[in-house]
């Protein structure tokens, strides 16, 4: 990134132009596939959100409009700054604009008006709403109104149930594309399960499931504290795909489904693995035992063992991909439409009697 230039709002484009003129000697090329508006409150998570944005930009150059609200400021303010983001990819010739808006107090209402003239025309507008959408916020309605796709992160939600309900409402009312970073984080596990149970025989065995155990990483950090969500997503996804009927849940995250399925979500602590990440999945189904567990020190690899009372298959490995910062995450939030599996999973979550479980 070039050094941020703090500028008056009416000099945003002209200052950007000056930076580009200075970069001309380095043969950097100005590129943008879409507009990416990011909204977050200033918190320890802000740097994490910035790192996600950097990953997006590396894969798909875009004009970023990064809005951060300082909720603890004593005085109202509005600051704007511009910079050019150069992907950290060796000698890439591509770079793109970033406009930063810091805001506090009653200046918040000015933000949509400040953003509008800087949206590049004819390009999609993605809104990364890094806050809980179930909590009312004066910027959500005006910013989502100009967005063609909204990206959420359930990690930012205080409670999963209102989050799921709100997203379903947004999708139904606006028929807008939605994505969720936490859903993207579970993609590797969904692929693993789908590719394991990919024959009629295996699928039939899976449908006789009697127990499911999911273990997640309970390592808490400053900005990752809702740690059960990814495991809940996997459970709700399986439940929705295999048409289980929810019966009851306990505070210890034990779930009962019809027909006679017992599911548990448990935690453990792995220091160097992403917080909330699913560590292992165990399934008992029709005399078959399926165990898939991340390999310590090779976290993105999963060892898979399938056995029955008669046979024990040789274990094999599955590459999950480094979803936390990798390509599949970027693809999920930018190029794919709304996942029908995701919508079904959200609906399932609303049926799971989450109460204060998550």
């Amino acid at each position: 990134m070039t050094i941020q230039q703090i500028v008056d709002p009416d000099h945003i484009e002209s200052e950007l132009l000056k930076i580009w003129e200075a970069l001309a000697a380095e043969k950097k090329m100005r590129a943008s596939l879409f507009n990416l508006i990011v909204f977050t409150r200033l918190s320890p998570r802000t740097d994490y959100i910035r790192s996600i944005v950097q990953k997006v930009v590396e894969k798909f150059p875009c004009r970023t409009l990064f809005v951060s609200q300082d909720g603890s400021a004593k005085h109202s303010f509005l600051k704007t700054a511009v910079s050019v983001v150069v992907p950290n990819l060796g000698e890439s010739t591509v770079a793109c604009d970033q406009i930063d808006i810091g805001v506090a107090g009653d200046n918040l209402e000015k933000v949509p008006f400040l953003l509008l003239p800087h949206i590049l025309p004819d390009l999609p507008v993605y809104l990364l709403w890094a806050e809980d959408p179930s909590q009312p916020h004066p910027l959500f309605a005006p910013l989502s109104a100009i967005a063609t796709r909204i990206i959420f992160d359930s990690e930012s939600a205080d409670h999963l149930l209102p989050f799921a309900e709100k997203l379903l409402e947004i999708h139904t009312k606006r028929n807008i594309d939605i994505a969720d970073l936490n859903w993207a984080r579970t993609e590797g596990w969904r692929d693993l399960i789908a590719s394991t149970f990919d024959t009629e025989k295996r699928l039939a065995e899976l449908k006789q499931i009697s127990s499911l155990k999911l273990i997640y990483n309970a390592r808490e950090t400053e900005f990752f504290c809702h740690l059960k969500i990814q495991a809940m997503y996997l459970l709700a996804w399986l439940s929705s795909r295999l048409s289980w009927q929810f019966l009851k849940a306990t505070k210890k995250l034990h779930f009962e489904f019809c027909p006679k399925i017992h599911a548990t979500i448990e935690s453990t602590h792995w220091e160097n693995l992403g917080s909330g990440t699913v560590i292992s999945v165990e399934i008992a189904a029709g005399g078959l035992t399926f165990e898939a567990a991340r390999i310590p020190e090779q976290y993105h690899r999963v060892n898979i063992q399938i056995s029955s009372s008669q046979t024990c298959e040789l274990p094999y490995q599955f590459l999950l991909g480094q979803t936390a910062t990798g390509q599949s995450l970027v693809k999920e939030i930018t190029t794919k439409g709304t996942s029908t599996h995701y919508l079904a999973m959200l609906k399932e979550l609303t049926r799971l009697g989450l109460g204060d479980l998550c």
Binding site: M29, K59, F60, R190, A194, L203, Y316
Partner: protein, 514 residues
């Protein structure tokens, strides 16, 4: 209207690319140049990006004595030299290499195939690969029939209707030497191999920019409505290479440029540019339309052989300021060789869409720069306005750059600021690199992956290959009986023989400078 049902509720069509059948890839000619330069890096990158099935193994099959460890070590070296991603991801490689094996045998030795079958069964048990096999024949075409025959005889190629497991064979080009030899080869292969199991590779089709031709044409309504004889003056397809023949002297002496580039790569480009919209994006629908284009090409006549087909051979000259030898001084080349290293010709497609529109094709070695491009030149606007001293404006040109600097540009006319209103052509330019930053997957990655998932869209079908040979075989026969007298006829580092310029200029047009 019927909707295709997704039988597996765990899979979401169009979203996940990871639900791939487990399989074993067997590479014949595993110690050859192609394996090292292209196939090994392709498999490595596919694996690294999680695109290979988790239950996967690769077996190299070749005639040299070698251990598994030696083979792995050589592949690692090749990947280190030729992979688009560097440096090697040691963590990934250390695990991946455990799934790579070597099998030594002659291509015609039954015992070797029996041992291969046993070995693959062992690997099936070890890696749960379920008997699925992809055989990549990276060998000289003369070995194709015997390898396929032995594979079949040893139960390694299944009946195409076998349920629960599959076997597929990728064959490298050239597929035949002319129409007759291609037909014989096809007849030989089809004794043991169904068309649905045969994947004739043309790596050009694996290039992202070539695949984008269909997207560009059929996902943008503004161009398709102009894509016909009413609006298009002519089309130029150029495949220019700066390099000479390098160490391929022996191969080139047998093949020549027409067989090496024009009959396959350039005809694929022409088919994609000229085809009608397919009824769907299925492999058969797209290939049906491509074949129709080839069937519509007006046969070249003896008059064309003399006047609108130009062959050339490079003489000495300069590339990047450095002197280079002529073709006849290259290694393994006859000093009196009459093999062509350049071809330019004009084709017509006699169908409703393209009536009267010439397609100029030009391919050559030792041209000033490397570049593959399709340029569509539109007809002039009615010349009543903005005339400048009787001169016509430049026509609009839409150029699809296939490589390098992949992208699309459009030449349009624009007013120069100021009172006298001169008209200046300007270029609107889209560059893949600007928008999509990172390096796209190599063609071989895409094609191997497509074969594993059973999608033959980007592979040439038997009738496509036959049709293309049908166009060029009379020309090749004519050339064989009429050796050229003026070779070499262009200097290395020039844009080809003067006769090629004269040919197009006679039509009132000029070759584009890339």
């Amino acid at each position: 209207m019927s909707t295709k049902l997704n039988p597996n509720p765990l899979q979401e069509p169009g979203r996940s690319s990871r639900n791939i059948d487990p399989c074993i890839v067997v590479i014949f000619g595993a110690t050859g140049d192609l394996t090292g330069r292209k196939l090994a890096p392709a498999l490595y990158n596919l694996g690294r990006e999680g695109m290979l099935p988790p239950n996967f193994a690769c077996v190299g099959f070749a005639r040299r004595e070698k251990t598994h460890e030696q083979f792995r070590s050589e592949l690692k070296q090749d990947i280190g030299s030729y992979s688009r991603t560097q440096p090697i991801d040691e963590g990934f490689w250390n695990k991946f290499q455990e799934q790579i094996f070597y099998h030594r045998s002659e291509f015609d030795d039954d015992q070797g195939y029996r041992a291969l079958a046993d070995f693959l069964r062992q690997l099936d048990n070890r890696y749960a690969t379920r008997g699925n096999r992809l055989f990549y024949l990276s060998v000289q075409p003369k070995f194709f029939p015997i390898i396929v025959q032995k594979l079949k005889a040893n139960g390694l190629i299944y009946d195409s209707k076998t349920e629960g497991k599959w076997s597929r064979v990728i064959v490298e080009k050239p597929f035949g030497h002319d129409f007759g030899s291609a037909a014989i080869l096809q007849k030989e292969l089809s004794k043991d191999l169904d068309e649905s199991q045969t994947y004739r590779i043309d790596h050009y089709l694996g290039k992202e920019t070539v695949q984008n031709i269909l997207v560009f044409r059929f996902a943008n309504s503004i161009f398709e409505s102009l894509w016909n004889y009413k609006h298009i003056d002519h089309v130029q397809i150029t495949v220019a290479e700066e390099i000479g023949i390098g160490t391929r002297g022996q191969f080139f002496e047998e093949e020549g440029l027409l067989r090496d580039i024009l009959q396959n790569h350039m005809m694929q480009l022409l088919s994609l540019v000229a085809m009608e919209p397919p009824v769907s994006l299925s492999a058969s629908a797209i290939r049906d339309e491509k074949v129709k284009v080839l069937q519509s090409i007006r046969p070249l006549s003896p008059n064309d052989f003399e006047n609108t087909v130009i062959r050339g051979q490079y003489g000495p000259g300069f590339i990047n300021g450095q002197p280079v030898n002529g073709y006849r001084k290259e290694a393994d080349v006859d000093p009196k060789s009459s093999v062509e290293t350049y071809v330019a010709l004009r084709l017509f497609i006699d169908n409703w869409r393209w009536a009267g529109v010439p397609f100029y094709l030009r391919g050559g070695k030792r041209l000033p720069k490397r570049g593959t491009e399709i340029a569509v030149t539109f007809k002039d606007a009615p010349g009543v306005l903005f005339q400048q001293q009787g001169k016509k404006h430049d026509p609009n040109v839409l150029a699809l750059r296939i490589q390098p600097d992949e992208g699309i540009s459009m030449k349009i006319n624009c007013k120069v600021p100021g009172p006298s209103s001169p008209i200046q052509p300007v270029k609107m330019d889209f560059r893949y690199g600007s928008y999509f930053g990172q390096s796209p997957p190599e063609a071989y990655e895409r094609l191997i992956w497509d074969c594993i998932v059973g999608d033959s869209t980007l592979f040439a079908r038997a009738d496509e290959v036959a049709q293309s040979w049908q166009i060029y075989t009379p020309l090749l026969e004519y050339w064989a009986s009429h050796p050229p007298k003026d070779l070499p006829n262009y200097a290395s580092g020039s844009w080809g023989p003067a006769a090629a310029n004269a040919m197009i200029e006679k039509d009132g047009r000029t070759w584009r400078i890339l």
